[in-house]
Symmetry: C2
Subunit: 356 residues, 2 copies
């Protein structure tokens, strides 16, 4: 059966401000030294598994030109702009409907566009295994990341870790972001995985579940897909999509469906959730600094510096994130990266929308 991929690229991350902006969020940034953007990496690592003809990007109108620019080899018709954000369920439903329309049925990898994978070979092996498991009618496969510390920022997957079939485990339930004590108990119990937001299923399997658990979404998708590859498509999309229920696939389907399986994965997944992630994904210098650009340091340690067009001198500074851009400069202690949101709120209050 054909392999296809649907990549979500509509997010408007704030946590890489001032490098990320509403106009250019994280998935379109290069955060690694190789110069490739996150979405370029996401597509590239599927190279041996999915043909470019079968990769779909779901984004929004503001980012269409960025996607075209960064992924020039993808067929234009595979790049779909949501008229407005409606969370993951409508996006997945739309992707699955298009694939079903085109190929009757196919395996569908549903993937975020702004995560990193360290061990790509392992990753591809897991995707292949997941695709195999997904061939079984109605099976829904989610990739769970084996937790390495008690993260409180992710949802978790509780799985039956003693009921294994060739590395595939039944999912018991999905649980919300825990507090630190709960996260610690999850880590120690061994029965929990991080919910990575990567799903593998046949288009028919997820559409079956949408029809069953989200009939309103199903009805809307029927209207949209009826006009697929006609001149009316964009218009219909713009009329119907905004009326679809705004719902996550986790809440709308996964918490209700049967036949959910997971593959515990340790291929070095990183959601690159903040500037702090850069030290995990980049080589540091002998003082544990990550320096990008024309940067001189003296007696400075554990700093992450993202330069722009000017020389940056850092003297006697420790544990700072320093990010220079054309119109904004961030100097942030590593303990305060969560406060970037506050800065954005202030800028918004001051009507400085250019800086958001």
């Amino acid at each position: 059966m054909k392999f296809t991929a649907v990549i979500m690229a509509g997010g408007v991350g704030e946590r890489f401000w001032p490098k990320s902006r509403k106009k250019c969020p994280k998935q379109f940034l290069s955060l690694t030294s190789d110069g490739e953007t996150m979405i370029q990496k996401t597509v590239k690592r599927l190279e041996s598994l999915v043909s470019q003809q079968d990769i779909y990007i779901i984004t929004n109108a503001h980012y269409l030109s960025l996607v075209h620019e960064q992924l020039p080899d993808l067929p234009h018709e595979n790049i779909i702009a949501e008229p407005c954000p409606r969370n993951t369920a409508p996006a997945i439903g739309l992707g699955a409907s298009i694939i079903a329309q085109k190929y009757q049925d196919a395996v569908m990898f549903f993937l975020p566009s702004d995560h990193l994978i360290h061990d790509e070979e392992k990753y591809l092996a897991v995707l292949k295994k997941a695709a195999q498991a997904a061939l079984q009618d109605k099976n829904l496969i989610t990739l769970g990341i084996t937790p390495t510390y008690p993260e409180t920022g992710y949802g978790y997957i509780k799985y039956q870790h003693e009921t294994e079939t060739e590395g595939i485990y039944p999912v018991e339930c999905f649980v919300e972001k825990p507090d630190i004590r709960t996260a610690e108990s999850y880590l120690h119990s061994g029965g929990y995985l991080w919910n990575s937001g990567m799903f593998i299923w046949k288009a028919s399997s997820i559409l079956y579940n949408i029809q069953k658990h989200m009939p309103e979404l199903w009805d809307g998708l029927q209207k949209i897909i009826a006009d697929y590859q006609t001149k009316e498509f964009e218009f219909t999309l713009s009329q119907v999509f905004p009326e679809l229920p705004s719902e996550s696939i986790d809440f709308g389907i996964m918490e209700k469906a049967q036949h959910i399986f997971t593959i515990p994965s340790d291929f070095g997944w990183d959601d690159v959730g903040s500037w702090l992630a850069l030290e995990r994904i980049n080589q540091t210098d002998e003082n544990h600094n990550i320096l990008d650009g024309d940067v001189l340091t003296i007696d400075s340690h554990n700093c992450t510096v993202s330069g722009n067009d000017k020389t940056i001198a850092v003297l006697g500074a420790d544990d700072l994130v320093i990010v220079d851009t054309d119109d904004a400069l961030l100097i942030c202690h590593k303990n305060h990266t969560q406060d970037i949101k506050q800065i954005l709120a202030e800028l918004k209050a001051e009507n400085k929308s250019d800086l958001l």
Copy 2:
């Protein structure tokens, strides 16, 4: 007797990098919130004492246009460019020679262009008292600053603090920058003042001493002044000045001359020696930050931020100096401002002369 002033503005300070550059050193920068540059303040505070016609600026060719721009009311002929730096004795000798040529004799205030005075009334009172004392033939008056802490970066004046005549004291000797223990003993003894580099004398008095103690300088000055206010002046200056002995007035004259007196002064003198000085001379916010420009702070303390044209966000940072300019950005812990020199050395080694 006429009052005149000779202001030295040829220095190439490095300690305010990257705001100060070889092309625009400290005396031409505004470091206070009123927007006035240091040299503008220096001239302005003499307003009630010395007519603009009688204020002379000794600078170098690179800064001529900056002086003209910042002090448009000064007579052009009063702005003299040294062909090369020769330390203070030749500059003072040249100034005194010009004044003697023009007025036969006059009181001369010799002042740096890059210091600040908090209490200008007190300062003017001290200058007047010094001018009075300077009327006595051959008297050389130096202003000594009453030390408030054991500074090791200044030279000191040892004075006979028990032999006072109307607030004027005989100077015993000039001493070099001390180590910290010596500086502490100076502070406690009460017989020492900071050498501020401000001198008051009649032109005839200093010329008498130059003739006596620096005959080579005296001879050179005769050649230069012979052409003053002729078409030949610039040429003669360019030929003779570089041959003058490069010597400080302290070493060349003050350590050898008789009739040296000092006035212990506490008019709030500040040599604004580094970025750290800004917190002494500017109002801080409630978190002891000094913020110049479009700066947002969250949970940041004791930071000095000098912005340029972009928004700067400072989060959870303490004790930093942050200076943004068009082509260079400095982030420096306050304990490391002395390392700015190292940065300049590196930039020089990398042939980035534009940034110096």
